[in-house]
């Protein structure tokens, strides 16, 4: 039998402990052990970004992170973006702009876009520069439905809203 280890981590603000192989993918820990199925698997090799989560505030592909690397660290998934029933500005904008179609890439894009907006990575930029930056920062998240236009619109709209409220 493979050696199992206990791993304590914080997920979406709550302390969690899982017992699993240290080689288990963070993606599988989230989906199977913690039943947080919002995080999706699209390719299993870090190309599509459907499994994007934040690890200690940085955006990672959870299919490329081993559980053994996660002890004591802070994970935020799509389920952790809203505060109760109040959606994050990025989530509201994705709905309002039509940035989600089939929705399978949407959790990963919502996580990455939240990172962009909350860190102010496109704050104080002109429209063209902000759009180009969003495209660069989201280039690890593939969407096959939208052509990306309405997602970029949504991230820009969310950044404006968050910026205005600061």
């Amino acid at each position: 039998m493979e050696r199992l280890v206990k791993i304590a981590l914080e997920v979406n603000g709550a302390p969690r402990t899982v017992e699993c192989s240290p080689w288990k993918r963070l993606l599988d820990v989230l989906r199977e052990d913690l039943r947080l199925t919002g995080t999706k698997e699209g390719c299993g090799e870090g190309e599509c970004g459907a499994c994007t989560v934040m690890l200690d505030g940085e955006v990672v592909n959870s299919c490329l992170v081993a559980a053994g690397q996660c002890g004591g660290r802070v994970v935020t998934t799509v389920e952790g973006l809203a505060r109760g029933d109040v959606l994050h500005a990025v989530q509201r904008a994705l709905v309002a702009c039509g940035g989600a179609q089939c929705g399978i890439c949407t959790p990963g894009i919502a996580v990455c876009a939240t990172h962009i907006v909350d860190r102010g990575l496109i704050a104080n930029r002109d429209e063209a520069s902000a759009r180009a930056t969003v495209r660069e920062l989201l280039a690890g998240n593939i969407c096959r439905c939208t052509g990306y236009q309405l997602i970029v619109d949504a991230v820009i709209a969310a950044a404006r809203e968050v910026g205005a409220s600061r």
């Binding site: 999706k40 699209g42 090799e45 998934t77 799509v78 959790p107 096959r144 236009q149 970029v152």
Partner: protein, 746 residues
């Protein structure tokens, strides 16, 4: 009396939007199925041969694994579709027709164990020579299908009696432009891989999964399980994209999970790995189109002759109808008195090529819009002016002799592009320190909406609008939301026709146990055809409610109030069947008449920059003006158009499926690439509305049309930039590099 805002025409947020942005939407692999086992597929490594048996690795622990072969199939070993030539599992002694064909199945308590078990099965296949090109197939190098390897052929003639008359018309022309156009296979690359689960309860098989067409799966499973319509229930789970890739292929997974679940005595699910999905499932048909365009001295078209060849792969699947659509679009939206189109789709030993957005039309559109641009070059005429001069308009006849009567948006889409075009890009310069050349490409194109010919009449799709006992309304159809917004559109159409707020209308999840067969979710037909049926059902239901209200002292009250009063007395369901528009008839024998009830019309402008150091072509600007009849939900329509446009730009420049000895050599997302945020240009979309009198509020099909035109626009733009022709897709840097001698001098 409450007056709800008219829902049709408003960019109402999608009804499934919040579930999708919060991660609450449950796709197949997210469903709670704690006791379900996982299935995996044993596949062929050989493209053509005879299956002689299996060796099971004796060192593997088989005690926790179910192993299933074709011998365990109790019904018919077929995936019933157009023809029943494709097997669910190759039987021992049977022919293996392609690499990665399913030979056997395993199920185990964990996915890892299932995949390990599949690897521990060694199929013994005696290899036969394989067929990997259209020419080898036509030469009958090996006989794979029928007597000539041709799955289907069509011959369409307009304005001439026989080949001699056609050649005479061409011989009399002032100029003949002749070209051969090649297009590559394309992977749909939905981000949710194929996924399906089955469970048997009380002798009935319950199947749920990622799919476009529950009743296609139902039909296939009735044959595979040899059961009646109530013996199997097919339900769609939230589906992470389809684009045609989940039109026919899900029947294969359904057969596999049903068989495994029966043998394992528990629920079994199969979720493909990405590499498996790319390797084994359908692709867009690769094609070779030969086109002759004959014009008189004034540049008027006098004859068009097109020969369409498509590679259908190892089984017939949907190839005849893909070819049909390709043939019917091959002459393009241009006036021409004499047209011949021949089409053939042939058998090879590649995994079957199948449905993908556009469905044959993108291949022939690429050919005719390259030809039309070559005509513009020959005449030294402006690309838009030439198209304005030659384009079909109301009153003109198409290649099948269909007289266009209504909803022809030619002038509107061309004018829209002209309005925003602006000056062409500066021909040469530098970018990031590299020398570049720039160019502009224009195309004009059309796409038949709904099923081809008499397809809709034969299908006779039905949908229902019902008042529930809760006083709310339900739309019931088998048309699935695969991301394109179907359920939101249906809510808007039904609410609009009923005269109630959209929040009063629900769409029932498509399951064959609870919805009528409104047909498959394909062919740009969901909004136009099924939406039209729903609109009519809602109007009839509204009339009945108003009559009831008059009898019960509620005349003049709102429909919402009437529904609240009438609902508790019992459900009132209006089931409506599709009715074709008057005067729409097509002759399948002669391929003449109304090929489609109506067409979408589109024009596209693309500006490119070609880097002369890296040979990369980059799309700087892409504008699509598309006549959609009526945008029921402009934001959703825009999203459809932009998504299709980027798939087309990807097909033009960077998407490719590479086969080696019949196997997909780039079966992963690292090497089988699709455009990212950083690859995509800012997309400009202009919605044109020339109403279709028989569509819901004037709407017609929109799902596929944006896929057809942009690839030719990109090729036209690169030709404009470099001064030489590019007639093969994709136009990768290698292609531009190889043609360096042609363009470096110019």
């Amino acid at each position: 009396m409450e007056r709800p805002a008219p829902p049709v025409g408003a960019s109402m947020p999608r009804v499934d939007g919040i579930a999708k942005v919060t991660g609450r939407a449950r796709y197949l692999d997210d469903l709670d199925a704690p006791n379900a086992w996982h299935g995996a597929t044993v596949r062929s490594k050989i493209a053509h041969g005879v299956l002689e048996g299996f060796e099971l690795d004796p060192t593997f622990d088989w005690s926790r694994v179910v192993f299933v072969t074709a011998a365990e199939i109790t019904g018919r070993n077929v995936i019933a579709l157009i023809e029943d030539d494709q097997v669910a599992l190759v039987p021992i002694g049977g022919q293996v027709m392609h690499v990665d064909e399913a030979l056997a199945l395993v199920a185990a308590p964990t996915r890892e164990l299932a995949f390990a078990a599949a690897r521990a099965v060694k199929p013994k296949v005696r290899a036969l020579p394989a067929v990997f090109t259209i020419d080898e197939s036509l030469a009958k190098k090996q006989l794979l299908y029928g007597t000539d390897n041709v799955y289907k052929q069509f011959l369409l003639r307009k304005g001439h009696g026989d080949d001699a008359a056609l050649e005479a018309a061409i011989a009399g022309a002032a100029h003949v432009i002749e070209g051969t156009y090649l297009t590559s296979p394309q992977e749909q690359m939905y981000i949710e891989p194929q996924a399906m689960m089955a469970e048997w309860r009380d002798g009935r098989c319950y199947i749920v999964g990622s799919m476009q067409c529950p009743y296609y799966v139902h039909k296939a499973m009735k044959a595979f399980l040899d059961c009646g319509p109530d013996g199997v229930v097919i339900s769609q789970s939230v589906t992470g994209g389809g684009f045609g890739g989940k039109e026919e292929y899900p029947s294969m997974l359904a057969a596999h999970v049903a068989l495994l679940a029966k043998q394992a005595g528990r629920a079994v699910k199969i979720v493909y790995d990405r590499d498996e999905d790319i390797a084994a499932t359908t692709k867009r048909h690769p094609s070779r189109v030969h086109h002759r365009l004959a014009v008189d001295a004034n540049g008027e078209i006098v004859a068009i002759d097109v020969d369409v060849l498509m590679d259908g792969g190892a089984y017939l699947t949907l190839s005849p109808v893909v070819l049909s659509r390709g043939v019917l679009h091959a002459a393009g939206p241009y006036r021409c008195p004499v047209v011949r189109v021949r089409g053939r789709v042939v058998a090879t030993n590649y995994p079957p090529h199948g449905a993908f957005r556009g469905f044959g039309a993108p291949q022939t559109t690429f050919a005719y819009e390259r030809q039309i641009q070559k005509l513009a070059n020959l005449m030294n005429e402006d690309a838009l002016d030439l198209r304005k001069r030659l384009a079909l308009r109301s009153g003109d006849t198409t290649a099948t002799g269909q007289v266009l009567g209504f909803s022809v948006g030619t002038d509107e889409v061309l004018a829209a592009i002209e309005r925003v075009a602006g000056p062409p890009p500066v021909a040469s310069g530098t970018r990031n320190g590299s020398p570049v050349r720039r160019g502009r490409g224009i195309v004009f194109y059309f796409h038949g909406a709904g099923f081809t010919g008499s397809g809709e009449q034969k299908l006779a799709g039905r949908a229902a609008v019902a008042l529930t006992t809760a006083g709310r309304f339900e739309v019931r159809s088998s048309s699935t939301d695969i991301g394109q917004g179907a359920i939101t559109i249906f809510v808007q159409i039904a609410a609009g026709a009923l005269g109630v707020d959209a929040s009063l209308v629900d769409v029932v999840d498509p399951s064959t146990a609870q919805v009528p067969d409104s047909g498959p979710t394909v062919a740009s037909r969901t909004c136009m055809v099924v939406g039209g049926v729903i609109e009519r059902g809602a109007k009839i239901l509204r009339g009945k409610l108003e009559a009831w209200a008059a009898e019960h002292g509620m005349a003049g009250r709102s429909i919402a109030e009437i529904a609240k009063a009438r609902g508790p007395q019992g459900e009132l369901a209006e089931i409506v069947q599709y009715e074709p528009p008057p005067g729409i008839a097509f002759d399948d024998a002669t391929y003449t008449g109304a090929a489609y009830p109506v067409y979408g019309w589109a024009a596209c402008l693309v500006d490119v920059t070609v880097d002369l150091d890296t040979y990369e072509a980059h799309v700087d600007r892409c504008v699509q003006a598309i006549d959609v009849g009526k945008a029921i939900n402009p934001a959703i329509v825009k999203g459809q158009i932009e998504g299709g446009t980027l798939q087309a730009l990807g097909w033009a420049l960077l998407e490719n499926v590479v086969y080696k000895d019949g196997k997909v050599a780039n079966a992963n997302m690292t090497n089988c690439i699709v455009p990212t945020f950083a690859d995509a240009p800012e997309l400009e979309t202009i919605l044109i509305e020339v109403p279709y009198p028989f569509g819901p509020s004037g709407a017609k099909g929109v799902g596929e049309i944006p896929m057809d035109g942009p690839a030719a626009a990109v090729a036209n733009a690169i030709e404009d930039a470099l001064g030489c022709a590019f007639d093969e897709l994709p136009i990768m840097p290698e292609v531009i590099a190889r043609s360096r001698d042609k363009w470096s001098a110019s």
